[in-house]
């Protein structure tokens, strides 16, 4: 019941934001489909200051960031013993009686032309001290970004995990106007706001992959009616064709140091993993099997490549030393394990899994042990870890369309990010910037 209340609250909140601040209609709606029962109770007081619209934006961005992490339960404002806080005025006893463990207070005021000054303070109500406190001045246009950064700091202070609210996601959007399809490579904030089209085509786009510095995207385009790999610089828009060998060119994956690209090519007669040295564009064949080898991902130390192969008869995950060697099979559960995403810590691997009833997102330890399912969809695909390893974003079926969802790496928190229009798929979570 409290969940549906929260949904309505968020819905109203986002409608307000559309009217006041968001220039885009391609809005992702966030819906927590499953939360943590033991969520940490926190309080966020109304943002005070002389610029009410900015205050509402700041408050709502931070609120929804912390809320959608699923790790916090944000206590109803009406119960707050104090509505406005100054550093010396926190009545710790009153707040503790409410059962709240942390309190976030923010103010925002106009500064020099086009700028706003934000003050935020986080109080530890258990230890009875101020655990965070800063004043920052930012361009008003950067307010949303600043708000995500504040969420990151609060999240880290409260959980010990670096926040990833200020990161971005890349994905493929497919829309249709009458019979004309449009495919777009887009990036948006991790909460789905501010979608920007990086490349638009009447032909299919696939497999976006971030460079480790977050400045470039590699992806597959069918603009010449065949699969080719392109790399695009996000700040300059410069676009170059990286691979256009005979046969398929797909599944690009940057090495952690950014100097190599793993990719799937079939120029050798069947799909194999190749490693391209990006400066020289020299190719090295990493796998060599007459079956399908594809969907490479690197371990964060750059020493291994995890990939999908059907050499055993069904698609399963394998690991091979990046310098070459013999592959080791990692997955034995189910008849379909593919599209591995190695966690940023290198401890776990997430994948698309099937045991015959639809496709779900699974996770296991890096050595293949401790497999468990994280989702229950019929067609869940394309898992991608957040750079802090806490969440996995993926695509799922919802109301006859394809939408993005995220699930915590422990499976306890789920959220849906829904574009209002078209199909959204193949999400790739950016690295930290």
């Amino acid at each position: 019941m409290s969940m549906s209340y929260k949904k309505i609250w968020l819905f109203l909140l986002f409608n307000f934001l559309i009217l006041t601040s968001s220039p885009s209609f391609a809005l992702l709606e966030i819906e927590i489909t499953q939360g943590v029962e033991s969520a940490l109770p926190i309080a966020i007081t109304d943002v005070a200051g002389d610029t009410p619209i900015d205050a509402a934006l700041l408050g709502s961005v931070v609120y929804s960031d912390l809320y959608r992490s699923g790790l916090f339960s944000i206590v109803d404002k009406k119960k707050y013993p104090q509505q406005k806080i100054n550093a010396d005025q926190v009545d710790y006893e009153l707040w503790r009686n409410l059962g709240v463990e942390a309190l976030l207070s923010m103010t925002i005021n106009k500064a020099a032309a086009g700028q706003v000054k934000i003050q935020f303070e986080l109080f530890d109500l258990v230890r009875k001290n101020r655990s965070l406190g800063h004043v920052v001045t930012v361009d008003q246009k950067q307010l949303r970004r600043a708000a995500h950064k504040i969420s990151d700091l609060v999240f880290e202070q409260l959980t010990g995990i670096k926040g990833a609210f200020s990161t971005r996601i890349a994905y493929i959007s497919e829309t249709a106007n009458k019979d004309k399809k449009k495919f777009e490579l887009q990036i948006a904030d991790a909460d789905g706001f501010g979608p920007k089209t990086i490349y638009s085509s009447p032909k299919q786009l696939m497999s976006p992959a971030w460079s480790p510095d977050g400045r470039k995207l590699a992806y597959v385009s069918f603009e010449n009616d065949r699969s080719e790999i392109y790399v695009q610089d996000l700040s300059t828009g410069t676009r170059s064709k990286l691979s256009s060998q005979p046969g398929i060119n797909s599944a690009p994956a940057w090495s952690p140091d950014g100097s190599f690209m793993a990719m799937t090519l079939s120029v050798g007669g069947n799909p194999d993993i190749y490693i391209m040295e990006l400066n020289s564009r020299k190719l090295r064949k990493l796998t060599n099997h007459h079956g399908i080898d594809t969907e490479a991902d690197w371990t964060p130390d750059g020493r291994y490549v995890v990939f999908t192969s059907n050499r055993s008869g069904s698609p399963q995950l394998y690991q091979i030393p990046a310098g070459g060697g013999s592959p080791t099979r990692l997955t034995f559960d189910g008849n379909y394990n593919a599209a591995a995403s190695v966690s940023p810590s290198g401890d776990t691997i997430s994948m698309v899994h099937s045991s015959g009833r639809g496709y779900q997102i699974g996770i296991m330890n890096i050595d293949g042990s401790n497999f468990r399912l994280l989702t229950e969809g019929t067609l869940d695909e394309a898992p991608s870890f957040a750079p802090n390893g806490s969440m996995i974003i993926y695509s799922t079926r919802h109301n006859n369309s394809t939408v993005l969802s995220a699930v915590s790496a422990d499976g306890r928190v789920k959220q849906r990010l829904r574009l209002q229009k078209g199909k959204v798929r193949e999400p790739a979570w950016s690295p930290f910037r």
């Binding site: 597959v220 069918f222 398929i248 799937t264 799909p271 594809t294 999908t308 698609p315 496709y359």
Partner: protein, 184 residues
Amino acid sequence: MLNRLLILFYVLFAFFIVGCSGNQTKPDDSEGSTIVDEDVTIDVGAPDELDEEGISSGLDDDGVLILDALDDPASNLFVRTIYFEYDSSDLSPESLEIVREHGQYLSENPDRLVRLEGHTDERGTRDYNLALGEERAKSVQEILVLEGATEEQIELVSFGEERPAVEGSDEEAYELNRRVEIVY
């Protein structure tokens, strides 16, 4: 350009057939008309089958169309889509027979070029499906080459699950989408 003309030709031809069979009220109309075409070099089935289709009616009268074995709707060569089982690139016995005839045709018409477009259904991962689509196209290519076609005549391309023949997420749609299209 030539391809487009050919496609246009096929489309017009198909409409023409539909129009003819639609107007054909008396089965007897087809009697007495036979296909006279030197280009037809392959056994395309029993003649009465052709008569039932009523294909040649009117065509001879027009005398405009140059008939090619590929354009005979009763022929296996008229079958341009080969279907596959889930996560498989194996050809069924029926498909094998059809692909063989295409191979023989290509062998006998060495100036003919063909593009094999491999496709999958939407299930499974997109990059794996791109590879699977190519495996399917390769299965067809292998048979074509066995029957005497040359690799120079054949172009392979995979679209994976990116270009479904029909939209939909049911078994019926999946069956129609797991395919190789033989495009002359």
